[in-house]
Amino acid sequence: MILLSFIVLIPFISALVLGVIYLYDPTKPREKLYATIGVTAPAISATIALVIEAKLLSMDASTVFYYKLFDWIEIGDFHINIAFMADRLSAVMLFFITVIGTLIHLYASGYMKGDSGYGKFFSYFNLFMGSMLLLVLADNPIVMFIGWELVGLSSYLLISFYHQKHANVTAGNKAFILNRIGDFGFIIGLVVLFISLEGYGYTFAEIEANITLIDPTTLTLIAVLLFVGAMGKSAQIPLFVWLPDAMAGPTPVSALIHAATMVTAGVYMVARFSFLYNNTPDIGEFIALIGASTALLGAIIASFQNDIKKILAYSTMSQLGYMFIAVGLGAYSSGIFHVFTHAFFKALLFMGAGAIIIALHHEQNIFKMGGLKEKLKWVYIPMLIATLAISGIPPFAGFFSKDAILITAFSSGHHSIWVMGTITAFLTAYYMFRLLFVVFLAPSKKAQKLEPLPNSMIVPLLILAVGSATAGLLGVPEALGGSNLFASFVALPDKPLHIPHSTEYLLSALNITLALLGVALAYKLFARAVHEPLNNSAWRFVVVNKFYIDELYTLLIVKPLLILSRLLLYLIDGKIIDNIINLIIYSYRRVGVSVASLQNGKVRYYAFYILIGVSFISTSMLILLGGF
């Protein structure tokens, strides 16, 4: 199935073409050309992806499309192919990466208007999409890892896109370095996996078939190490600190990172290795616990932020926590379903936020906005739908996916995880409606002249609004009269739930009630005239400063590392190693001078050397030949 390779290659090729055109003459304004190439490439990928998905839909659940591009490494029994594979899990990822990715590209063509790096931006953007597609279509973990790294690279390039400002470069570095820590765990995990399989499996299918060859202890180690990779990419505790800083990039980048690519990679990876995680339930619980803590932490911090993009960033972190609760507890299809619905509403929220920021001349503080309901009607309506969706109000998308996760958490018996998830659900509704009310409903402080928004920014919002409203209907659970089409489509090895329908109704009702309570609280506090809250209490102060986690990391990791590096530089390297090398140099020169002094040009010395040489030779000959 050669079409598979086109999905991946087209964004890469267009990234290359855009890069070459841009570098040929960076100053020449060619926005039309760049936008045409940059948006067409993902659109073609999306079309091909839809064709493949339509085929998969009509076929048996175990159908896997496969295409081998070429042999990459071939040493003895060791074969690594550059090959692509699309099963139903990949197809789901493929769908939202390409479709939502294309919409974000379209939006970016409006958002980036007038930027001097327009061509560069689209080149990076296509590279980002291509890397993510490589990641989800990889047929073996090594190719997946290449995609994984390329995603890290392109996110770095895009986060520090406005590189004239030092803070943005730092943010890019931070994202890259924290991802590296995760990637380190990931690659060690892969190496241990390959070693313990002793050559019986390099592709996902072979690994799955031979997974029983590995003893449980090693399997646990592999599961943990792979999850460390997921922690980095998907911004889980303790590697989440890069995500809020990643807001330094242009807003379409945030939309792409948070919705369609990058952060979902970790969830996808755990779901892809579901056969492995099903054999290590302890690690699954650990993942779920990390997920729940991340969800709660993200929600608490988001409730106290004032920057519109920061709120959304922490909200992403919190929603990713939900996804890890699901995949950790073995409800892989629920996790992927939440990835799927989240992609719609989070892309929409970020693009809406970007539209507001552009309209208000790059104002990001929500308390300086207000009263935009009438002026930005076509941003308000999609944002309202997305907010309803993320808050879990039926029948919008987020309700079904979040409900499925919370029901899984409840029925798994880990009530602490369930409690954290439920509190997060309440907080989610609160902080999202806080954002919505402050920005759109609260009266504005001063009359502002708004920047007009191009259609290319509004149309994607409307399309995604439809998606956010309806995507959840794909996964209506049996308890609510549906048949959970989504779960039966992805066909992942979920753990069965043992829970009566009545409990499910009760849990859903509880979730809806809590969400509505959150909305009500936000309405009471923020729908009327609001002022930027002062950080007057100790608690607020701590939360607004994100629990000082960045400072804690600086104190515990960065500082000791710096001190150690300085110590190594000045003491070990400067004093010991340099001196050893200087001593060696000195002795060579000394020996050289001594030998050179033998060659003094005086004939009688030369004769003397001959005398010594001849005496030595004749003496030794006498001894050897037995003269004495």
């Binding site: 020169r589 000394r590 001078v593 050179a596 002094s597 060659q599 003094n600 040009g601 005086k602 004939v603 009688r604 004769a607 003397f608 005398l611």
Partner: protein, 104 residues
């Protein structure tokens, strides 16, 4: 005849000549030492010729004496030339081959 006595004399002559070349700085003395070594070789040639009961070695020795005489004239001319160039007979002054500038 006891050849060992001749060998010892030849060895002594050669050693005295060699030590002279190595230890003395006056070019004349160096030249004399070289001549001494040549004489010891001549003595050896004649001794072996006698032991072998053949005239080959003696003929060689006679030839050598002629060559040494020719060489002596060449050598003396060279010494005069050396003295003219440096106004010195000290062999240590003729060290053009010296590469060692003594730097460290």
């Amino acid at each position: 005849m006891i050849p060992e006595q001749f060998f010892i004399v030849a060895t002594l002559l050669f050693s005295i000549g060699l030590v002279g070349v190595v230890s003395r700085r006056n070019i004349f003395v160096v030249y004399l030492s070289i001549e001494l070594m040549l004489s010891s070789v001549n003595l050896l040639l004649v001794t072996f010729s006698r032991i072998d009961q053949s005239m080959n070695g003696s003929v060689m020795a006679l030839l050598l004496i002629a060559v040494i005489a020719a060489e002596a004239s060449l050598f003396l001319a060279m010494i005069i030339q050396l003295y003219r160039s440096k106004r010195s007979l000290d062999s240590d002054h003729f060290n053009l081959l010296n590469q060692n500038k003594g730097d460290l």
